[in-house]
């Protein structure tokens, strides 16, 4: 496509235009996925509770996400008196923006990635560790006790679980030999990492639930005690950006699980009649079901239980497993020598 445009806008312009088109495609697809993730969630929850779920707006209730979105567009954004207006409005924008920029390094298929950088895994880790700022800033700028309590809980929770996520990622890197996400996927062409590293995948997934503040770790927003936690003061589009960001982060963590453990775009059992991006999407769909299933099934953790799980169970376990994997790779001489 870049070659086709070169005679009209020059080489730099063509590269720029191609990149812009790629970003636009990813963003539009993501927003659609996010809208239908809310529908998926409501349907799964309804099935778990023997209800029907949304079924009135459009066939099978398929237009429900659109109706919800339109409603939020038409509402008024209220900035409370006593709030810090700049930071109050910056927080949702930051949350949503960070949820979007992380996708720039996720490979959707062979060569199908916006920015194929060599430190892709670290980039994702850095971006996900920034997510906490949107929440802390929102909690502080709202000038409300509920919001502040939610933000405090969130800061402790996200910092704690990041540590074990870091060790899980290091273990995957030991097996793949590269920080480039495309190469991590290619390293799984013979054996998906979910087989030798299955316990680490579980640790990663559960830490992912905690990172995205999802049930059973949703005591950041816990509606029964903090009303809605850090975004209690938000309305209309500012609220919608938080909501979008949360669901986008769910898709992102599912995408990371898929890339790191489930072979990314690789087809299972040699079923190559479907293209790579479709397989990638299907795997994300399956991992997302895990998120919704956990929400429908498990009661909320108490704060001390959350800290105990993160620091006393996941952290020692992931360090031990990492040392064991490194020892095994060195002992058998199978340490990858990638770039």
């Amino acid at each position: 496509m870049a070659d086709f445009l070169t005679p009209y806008i020059g080489h730099t312009g063509a590269v720029f235009a191609t990149m812009l088109a790629g970003i636009l495609c990813v963003v539009v697809v993501l927003l659609l996925c996010m809208a239908y993730l809310t529908y998926y969630e409501r349907k799964v929850l309804a099935a778990a509770m023997l209800r029907k779920g949304p079924n009135v707006t459009g066939p099978f209730g398929l237009l429900q996400p659109m109706a919800d979105g339109l409603k939020l567009f038409l509402k008024e954004t209220i900035v409370p008196t006593g709030a810090n207006p700049v930071l109050f409005l910056l927080a949702p924008v930051l949350t949503f923006g960070l949820a979007l920029v992380a996708w720039s390094v996720i490979p959707f298929g062979p060569g199908l990635v916006i920015s194929n950088i060599n430190v892709g895994v670290l980039y994702l880790f850095a971006i996900s560790s920034l997510g906490v700022y949107g929440i802390i800033i929102a909690g502080w700028a709202s000038n409300s006790r509920y919001a502040f309590l939610g933000a405090m809980r969130s800061a402790a929770q996200m910092v704690s679980y990041e540590v074990s996520i870091g060790f899980v990622i290091v273990t995957v890197l030991l097996c793949s030999g590269s920080l480039n996400l495309s190469k991590v996927v290619e390293a799984q062409s013979h054996l998906w990492f979910c087989i030798p590293l299955f316990p680490m995948m579980v640790v990663f997934f559960v830490s992912g639930l905690a990172e995205t503040n999802r049930a059973p770790f949703d005591l950041v927003e816990s509606e029964s005690e903090l009303v809605a936690g850090y975004f209690v003061e938000y309305s209309a589009m500012a609220f919608a950006l938080f909501y979008l960001g949360e669901y986008m982060n769910m898709i992102l963590v599912s995408g990371m699980t898929t890339v790191l453990f489930l072979g990314g775009w690789l087809a299972p059992f040699g079923l190559t009649f479907l293209p790579g991006p479709i397989w990638f999407g299907l795997k994300i769909f399956v991992v997302l079901f895990g998120f919704l299933w956990a929400r429908a099934t498990l009661p909320r953790f108490r704060y001390d239980q959350l800290m105990r799980l993160g620091w006393k169970i996941f952290l020692p376990f992931s360090i031990l497993y990492m040392v064991a994997v490194a020892g095994f790779l060195v002992a058998t001489g199978t340490l990858p020598n990638g770039g």
Binding site: A126, I136, V159
Partner: protein, 199 residues
């Protein structure tokens, strides 16, 4: 390339400007947020230098962990915008003295600085097909292994020290013993209820 130099001036200018605001801002929370902005722009400068590994580590360690804890602590303290008091004025005088001393020292060092003749060659020491993550790893885990492990030990000692200094054993604290709680008590039976029929 012109875009690279434009980006350099952008990152450098924002970095210095936000560093200045860190010191001058009245509200400590704004200070921390501008500190984060300064970290970000420093990371951008690293990327321009081709040191993407350092850039990412800077963001992960400083922005993702250290600054979160700063913000956490500063938000917990109930500080309103600082008023300029007499003590602050007295301290400002000492601070200005130290600052002046540092500036003079820096100027003296910078004016006497001459690049060594081999400096240009050592910049290009990494061959093009090796990523800088690999190059860094190959150096710090072989040539600089003892200083590197020494740094790690210092951090470990500091961490243990911080825990020892702040840990209090409180006799009245309630603790949860998960094993006893999860263990099945007598007389309780688990029943599988068929879907849709009730007990």
């Amino acid at each position: 390339m012109i875009i690279a130099s434009l980006l350099f001036y952008l990152f450098a200018a924002v970095c210095i400007a936000s560093a200045v605001v860190v010191v001058t801002a009245r509200n400590p929370i704004h200070s921390v947020l501008f500190l984060i902005l300064a970290f970000f722009n420093a990371a951008g400068l690293f990327v321009l230098l081709g040191a993407e590994f350092l850039a990412m580590i800077l963001v992960i360690v400083y922005v993702g962990a250290v600054a979160v804890l700063f913000l956490f602590v500063v938000m917990m303290l109930d500080i309103e915008a600082l008023a300029i008091t007499d003590t602050l004025k007295r301290h400002a005088f000492i601070g200005a003295g130290i600052g002046l001393f540092l500036v003079v020292e820096l100027v003296l060092v910078a004016s006497g600085w001459v690049a060594s003749t081999g400096a240009g060659a050592s910049v290009l020491a990494i061959p093009g097909n090796v990523t800088n993550t690999q190059a860094l790893g190959a150096l710090i885990y072989t040539h600089y292994i003892y200083p590197f492990q020494g740094c790690g030990l210092v951090l470990l000692v500091a961490m243990i020290g911080a825990i020892v200094l702040t840990l209090r054993r409180r006799p009245d604290a309630k603790r949860q013993d998960v094993a006893t709680q999860v263990a099945k008590p007598r007389g309780v039976r688990l029943v599988k209820v068929p879907t849709g029929s009730g007990v």
